[in-house]
């Protein structure tokens, strides 16, 4: 029964492209894309409380890999290459930075995304002498939707497994107190590196899968830092330490941002900033935790009455 409900939900979601038009399907792709990013972000940043702004670095690497390799090899192999490149970058970056904590880590990850964008721009301008790239792949929006849905299902399954596995406990201990973690025999760097890399591979795949949708990509599109900020805010809104929290945050916020960018294109960033501040102040652990707190208080009041 427990496995039946998610399977039914997955089947229902997979059927969506047969019943909706192009615009709703586009919204579905956007929601799934951010759902994947936010869930992957929370895999690492939820328990460790390391706020990473490197999401778009991996997302962009994924998209660019597809743009570069799409003509050279079959599509599944392109995705595999993207995942491997994401993994190697994550391992290198992780080894160099996961000893950083707090604000230093945040700033570094933000810098990393900018570095990736500048390096790609430099390479394209100076070596290939063309800034943008075209992605012509015979992959329709419904296929992108299905791939993202599959990736989301796998990511959620991984998150579920990790939350019950030893590595999940290790991450929570590290998040609570790294000094205690090391004195209990937990290999801190190894654990953080494993989860950071896993999360990065998923983000890279999310970028790779969505690349054919844009047809034309350039660094300012696929390395846009707003993607990193949106991912953080979505995960925080829903609750980064709950399985479905980040996804729950992604749905309303994606729709809201879509509406805002269509109707208030000039004020979009201001509203985004205000919303970010409001969420951090009012719902530091997310909607789900706030809801639990509220119901617990209600029950206590009832018990007293």
């Amino acid at each position: 029964m427990i496995f039946l409900i998610p399977l039914l939900a997955l089947a229902a979601l997979a059927a969506v492209p047969f019943f909706v038009g192009a615009y709703p399907l586009g919204l579905g792709i956007g929601i799934l894309g951010y759902g994947v990013l936010a869930t992957a972000w929370a895999l690492f940043s939820g328990p460790t409380r390391y706020i990473s702004l490197a999401t778009v670095a991996f997302f962009g690497i994924g998209a660019y890999t597809v743009a570069v390799l799409a003509d050279l090899m079959p599509y599944p192999l392109v995705l595999l290459c993207a995942a491997l490149i994401g993994l190697v970058v994550a391992l290198l970056v992780g080894l160099a930075t996961l000893r950083l904590a707090g604000i230093y880590f945040v700033i570094f990850t933000f810098g990393l995304a900018e570095l990736a964008r500048q390096l790609v721009t430099y390479y394209e301008v100076n070596v290939t002498r063309t800034l943008g790239r075209y992605v012509f792949l015979p992959i329709g929006p419904e296929h992108i939707y299905w791939q993202l849905l599959g990736l989301l299902a796998v990511t959620l399954a991984l998150a579920f497994w990790i939350s019950r596995a030893k590595i999940g406990l290790a991450l929570r201990v590290i998040g609570d107190d790294p000094v205690v973690a090391s004195h209990l025999g937990i290999g801190i760097t190894r654990t953080k590196l494993a989860l950071f890399s896993l999360s990065a591979v998923v983000m890279t795949l999310a970028g790779a899968i969505q690349a054919p949708r844009w047809t034309y990509i350039e660094p300012s599109i696929v390395f846009n830092p707003t993607v990193s900020f949106l991912t953080v805010i979505m995960a925080l809104l829903g609750g980064p330490n709950r399985l479905f929290g980040p996804l729950l945050g992604a749905v309303p916020l994606f729709l809201l941002f879509e509406w805002l960018s269509a109707n208030f294109p000039n004020h979009y960033s201001i509203i985004l900033g205000l919303l970010f501040i409001a969420i951090v102040f009012l719902l530091p652990n997310g909607v789900l935790a706030a809801w639990d707190k509220l119901t617990a208080r209600f029950k206590n009041n009832e018990a007293r009455a």
Binding site: K166, L169, A170, V173, V179, A181, S182
Partner: protein, 241 residues
């Protein structure tokens, strides 16, 4: 047989020498008090033994093997466990998960149903029977200390470092705390305890090492050390010596 050997261990923080040329040996099964006025370097010594701080010079060996070049997680795997001067609970975890964290990552790890049974036993041993599901952040001070001790014991250490574990307890709690450490001592575990509560030191320690301004001032049977004039002078000043 000597379990722990400190040889000429020194720790400097910039211009400050916190521990200066400290040497001593612990025999397996001993309960030894590490005493000294505030700032004498006791906690720094403990931090170097557990690997939290690297030594500036000198070496520390456990069972004849040098551990002062290792990080805390590898020292933990070799059989050193500790509690902290300021209790370090894992607040977002339950009491049971706090102990599970130690069982799951020790050298001979336990997980699943085996770990559950062990957690029950360990919590019962420290007086927290049936409290597995409670959130660690909701515990009282003494219960946090009990939980931290259960967590340290869960690693099945050869050497247990207790940093002022009995500080801040009321007389009843103190009695219970001393009884608890007495039981541990009888189980054969080697204990090095930093402590200011002299009643506890007298009740628990057969031997004491006294530090002052980073150096070893005295080392010997508890009664002799506590009567030593230089020790009294270090604690209370010249008028009392």
């Amino acid at each position: 047989m000597s379990l722990l050997t400190l040889s000429n261990v020194t720790k400097r923080f910039g211009g400050l020498t916190a521990v200066n040329d400290l040497s001593f040996t612990l025999t397996a099964g001993e309960t030894v008090g590490l005493l000294g006025p505030n700032g004498s370097g006791k906690t720094t010594a403990l931090n170097m033994i557990s690997g939290y701080l690297p030594v500036t010079s000198g070496s520390i060996a456990l069972d004849g093997t040098t551990i002062s070049t290792l990080g805390p997680e590898r020292i933990a795997h070799r059989g050193v466990a500790r509690t902290f001067q300021l209790v370090r609970a894992l607040p977002s975890l339950t009491v049971g998960e706090n102990v599970l964290a130690a069982l799951a990552f020790r050298k001979d790890p336990l997980w699943g149903s085996k770990a559950e049974a062990k957690i029950e036993n360990l919590l019962a041993d420290v007086g927290l029977a049936g409290r597995q599901q409670e959130q660690a952040s909701n515990l009282t001070y003494i219960d946090l200390k009990r939980m931290e001790l259960a967590r340290a014991l869960a690693t099945e250490p050869k050497l247990l470092l207790l940093d002022e574990w009995l500080a801040g307890l009321n007389p009843t709690e103190l009695r219970a705390g001393i009884d608890l450490i007495t039981r541990l001592r009888q189980s054969g575990i080697t204990i090095l305890l930093v402590e200011h509560v002299m009643d506890a030191v007298r009740a628990l320690c057969t031997r004491c090492i006294v530090m002052n301004t980073g150096s070893r001032l005295a080392d010997g049977p508890t009664a002799d050390v506590l009567a030593d004039k230089s020790v009294i002078r270090a604690y209370l000043g010249d008028d009392h010596a």
